[in-house]
């Protein structure tokens, strides 16, 4: 049980997407179109979410524009008074659809970009998308939507953080989210290609600080250091089952987008249960609430009120047990796993000179 109310519903409307980014937050096993829940299911979920206290709705995916009922869903959410964000690649955002979304009451659009270097962007997304994104951004600006650019940062684009930020300012973004790759699911699979070096992170931090000062009052910038390069873990989703509900394309409701990777936990489907019951009663949402589940050193640590033990999915992926402390934490013996991974990345950067063998 909990007396707290959720604030945010992340609706992953579909896993279908024209892009193939190697760090995608969708699960390794993607849901096929025929298993996606219906328009009526989503509308019911949005209504139940509002009744439960949700204020923010993320219309996400995959690429949510692939859902033909997106405008209808946005209109329904608008009627409920939810603040909506469309989380899109920009691909498929025609003038006509943007007009209809505006009419439906959508306020905020977040467009992802992969890089400012077109070749790199294409390599990361696995398809050419730069022109289409530019066109989408122009439409977002023309129609006066609140506008965020989101960039997932990693080894392949981190050195261009300054140019990326300048680009966002130039095209008139209200906000720029510089998000770090998270290493579970696809990100973990591709970690050696994605993880930045310590030197890269240090340079990026200095550049980000410079740009934050430069664009203050004009463009809001969100930049946090990647957790592998920090001493303490992040409060994942603000703590398990405290603020967020993520509903996947097939209707599974989870406390975070990767929770279903944790063995032994069952997450209910919104077609079978109300969101209220899922939030308050379901075993999945209760599993890592509070601190009863914690092991030492978390259980007796004052930081548990700050980070709630960190990310359960990262603990599982790297230590084999979701109830272990997040290995990012330097107060746990698991930290060596993180340090080893960072060191491996450094080692991949260069080769010692040596005489060619004869």
């Amino acid at each position: 049980m909990t007396n707290e109310r959720p604030t945010t519903l992340l609706a992953e409307l579909t896993h279908r997407c024209p892009l193939h980014c190697p760090y995608c937050s969708n699960p390794l096993e993607l849901t096929r179109a025929e298993r996606e829940i219906s328009t009526e299911d989503w509308k019911r979920v949005f209504s139940q979410a509002r009744d439960l206290g949700v204020l923010q709705l993320g219309l996400s995916g995959g690429e949510p524009l692939i859902r033909k009922d997106l405008e209808e869903l946005a209109a329904h959410a608008n009627g409920l008074g939810l603040y909506q964000t469309l989380v899109t690649s920009g691909l498929g955002l025609t003038r006509q659809r943007a007009d209809r979304l505006k009419e439906a009451g959508l306020e905020h659009i977040q467009v992802s970009i992969q890089d400012v270097d077109p070749e790199s962007a294409e390599r990361i997304a696995g398809i050419s998308s730069v022109k289409q994104k530019r066109a989408a951004i122009a439409i977002v600006k023309e129609l006066g939507f609140a506008f965020t650019i989101n960039v997932v940062l990693h080894r392949q684009n981190l050195d261009r953080i300054g140019e990326i930020t300048d680009f966002a300012a130039e095209v008139g973004a209200d906000r720029l989210e510089l998000a770090n790759t998270q290493y579970y699911g696809w990100g973990l699979k591709n970690r050696s290609w994605l993880m930045p070096t310590r030197a890269q992170v240090g340079r990026a931090k200095a550049i980000a600080e410079d740009r934050m000062a430069r664009y203050k009052g004009k463009m809001q910038m969100i930049f946090v250091l990647p957790d592998y390069h920090e001493s303490y873990p992040k409060a994942c989703y603000g703590g398990w089952g405290r603020y967020y509900i993520v509903v996947g394309p097939e209707g599974t409701a989870q406390p975070c987008h990767a929770a279903s990777s944790i063995p032994g936990l069952a997450f209910p489907n919104v077609r079978e249960y109300s969101l209220d019951w899922i939030w308050r009663e379901s075993a999945g949402f209760q599993a890592f609430r509070g601190d009863d589940w914690m092991k030492e050193p978390c259980r007796s640590c004052p930081r548990k009120a700050v980070d709630f033990g960190g990310c359960r999915c990262q603990a599982l992926a790297l230590t084999g047990d979701a109830a272990n402390p997040d290995p990012v934490c330097t107060l746990t013996p698991f930290r060596r796993i993180i340090d080893e991974a960072v060191t491996e990345t450094e080692a991949a950067e260069f080769e010692y000179r040596q005489l060619a063998s004869t």
Binding site: R5, T7, D174, R175, Q220
Partner: protein
Amino acid sequence: MPEPGLTPASVPRLWRLARLGFDAVRNRPVLLYPEGAVLLNETGKAILELVDGTRTVAEIAEILREKYQTDVAADVTEYLSGLAARELIQ
């Protein structure tokens, strides 16, 4: 980093992306913006409703002083400075 606060002569303006709303579930006024929300009390709501991009902090405080029959100038400045530090007021 210490933020320079607002002064009585400042003309506060709500961030373009933020809007006032009412949360019927919590029965509270609320400030909504991308990826966030601030639950407000009645005083906060009364202040923010007077923020229109033309009134100064002093003018807002004067209107509220008449309404509540008490000097609220310091509170108004502090409240709006707090929101300014979060970039919700510019």
